[in-house]
């Protein structure tokens, strides 16, 4: 398996292509997302992750439905989320949905928990945004228990109590899907990931490296504090976003109107300023390789690198071309370079197989 998993993550936004003025329909966007996922497997990527949103202009409100469809049409691709809302989803339903998906996908499933980026989503699901962190803590405590104990008694602050409850199906081989905790700014979430020995994904795509470095360092230190290994052995994932053409000038020329008008990028710093201050890289495949290799310098050896590729209203055809370049020209070099100088005691990226093997090793030594 891969020491470092490379893949893509999508927000699932419906965004007007600023160069044509055309806005895809929801159906077109949903179909484009799954086409992109199949392409990810075809070009040799390891992971596809989808966001979860409950408001326009986003389409993926039901991630396990989408991932189940993709699971049936892929062989190797690991299916994940970016992120699953641990605050507003019922942890019982998360336990059930992802265990079901895990069986259907033969273990090719993990998930990234997050708190979401939209305030109003809390009241839509009967919650209070001021309780965001306590919800993330309590709901995950219950999810963690539901996947590890066959019969659960539970009383918490945010959901109706459970008496002798068994969430079904039970996780495949008795091993729950691996959990990443995604956070941008909250030290409490880095602390939560460290406490459980879970993965920590810092979505650094809109942040300067100093901030990412600080958050990852906190997680690594606390991971060691809780006895899961050395700080270097903590499980770290990062984001990134790129646009490539063979010649970097062509990449800049083609991407600029998308950057300038995108809801998430536009009307602030220039493309040049933004690429200097955040991981956004617009240029040749070699520039993307060089930039991505610097991530390791400030967070240490890590396990998962996800790229945002279908951003800013780019048409599907362009995104598929980007994925060809990513899979053929960029990721093979990154795999080789990340492997060189990687100490032997740094864990590989977690998979269902590695988690089963670890459990068996622990059982044998106990």
């Amino acid at each position: 398996m891969s020491a470092v998993q490379f893949g893509i993550f999508t927000v699932g936004d419906v965004t007007t292509d600023p160069t044509t003025g055309r806005t895809p329909t929801e159906r077109e966007r949903i179909k484009a997302m799954v086409t992109i996922a199949l392409k990810a497997e075809e070009v040799g990527l390891d992971v596809f992750a989808t966001g979860e949103h409950h408001n326009p202009p986003f389409v993926p409100s039901s991630p396990t439905t989408m991932l189940g469809w993709i699971a049936a049409r892929t062989e190797r691709l690991l299916l994940s989320t970016s992120t699953t809302l641990i605050t507003t989803n019922d942890p019982v339903k998360i336990a059930e949905d992802f265990a079901m998906l895990q069986h259907l996908a033969d273990g090719r499933v993990d998930l990234m928990l997050g708190r979401g980026n939209t305030g109003p989503v809390y009241p839509w699901f009967g919650q209070d945004i001021r309780q965001g962190i306590p919800l993330a803590i309590e709901n995950y405590a219950l999810l963690h228990k539901l996947w590890r104990e066959d019969v659960v008694d539970w009383q918490g602050r945010f959901r109706t109590p459970l008496q002798g409850f068994t969430s079904t199906p039970r996780p495949m081989d008795g091993v729950p899907p691996f959990v990443w905790h995604g956070s941008i700014r909250s030290p409490e979430i880095a602390e939560q990931a460290a406490y459980y020995g879970d993965g920590f994904f810092h979505n650094n795509i809109f942040w300067p490296k100093e901030h990412t470095q600080k958050m990852v360092a906190l997680y690594r230190e606390r991971f060691a504090h809780y006895g899961h290994g050395t700080p270097e052995q903590a499980i770290v994932g990062l984001g990134g976003q790129v646009f490539m053409r063979k010649n970097s000038q062509d990449a800049v020329r083609e991407f600029r109107p998308y950057f300038d008008n995108a809801p998430v990028y536009g009307h602030g710093p220039s493309l040049e300023e933004f690429t200097e201050q955040t991981p956004l890289t617009v240029g040749s495949p070699q520039q993307v390789i060089d930039r991505t290799l610097t991530f390791r310098e400030y967070v240490g050896d890590y396990q998962r690198q996800l790229f945002l590729m279908d951003h800013a209203g780019l048409p599907l055809k362009t995104v598929l071309e980007q994925l060809d370049m990513l899979g053929e020209e960029v990721v093979p070099v990154l795999r080789k370079e990340f492997a060189s100088g990687r100490p032997a005691n740094i864990p590989d990226a977690p998979t269902h197989e590695s988690l089963v093997a670890r459990r068996e090793a622990e059982a044998a030594s106990a």
């Binding site: 306590p134 309590e138 405590a141 460290a194 942040w207 300067p208 809780y226 602030g268 710093p269």
Partner: protein, 207 residues
Amino acid sequence: MKPIRIVAVSAGLGRPSSTRLLADRLAEATGRELESGERPVETRVVELRDLAGAIADNMVTGFPAPALREVIEEVTEADGLIAVTPIFTASYSGLFKSFFDVIDNAALRGKPVLIAATGGTPRHSLALEHALRPMFSYLRATVAPTAVYAASEDWGGGDTRHDELSARIGRAARELAHLVRTRPETAGADTEAVVPFQEHLASLGLD
């Protein structure tokens, strides 16, 4: 010995700017009040005009560009802050407010602050009391009782008004210097200590 650092922020737009002039005079006067102590004093005056684009970018992106980050760090780590704005449309200027909007709202807790403003007419002087003071109270800064307002006519040479402005600057500087000197040692020490996860669980009754 670590110097006492006083940072004055001016939201003046003109060149030359009377807001900048007031910030300079308050910084000088505060520096003079503090220089008799053991620690050396460093004062710096920052013009937000130079950062106007960066402040707007920060609103859009959520993070400061390097030049703005450096100024935010100077301000949040200073021992005392002098905040000076022109009065526009009956309140602080948008640039002034935007600068404080992009700073973390816990970063100025307990910070000694002197507030000051300039305007074309003395009729807007209470904007200091109904706009600036509540804003810094919200940020839980410690605001000096004297706020300094300078209208165009206060800058005239030699008359009593000019003397009154100088007297107010002197009084405000003494108050800020006193707040800086008597500020507890621990104040401003960044309390980024991690709350252990067991405490989070315990507070939810999950331990």
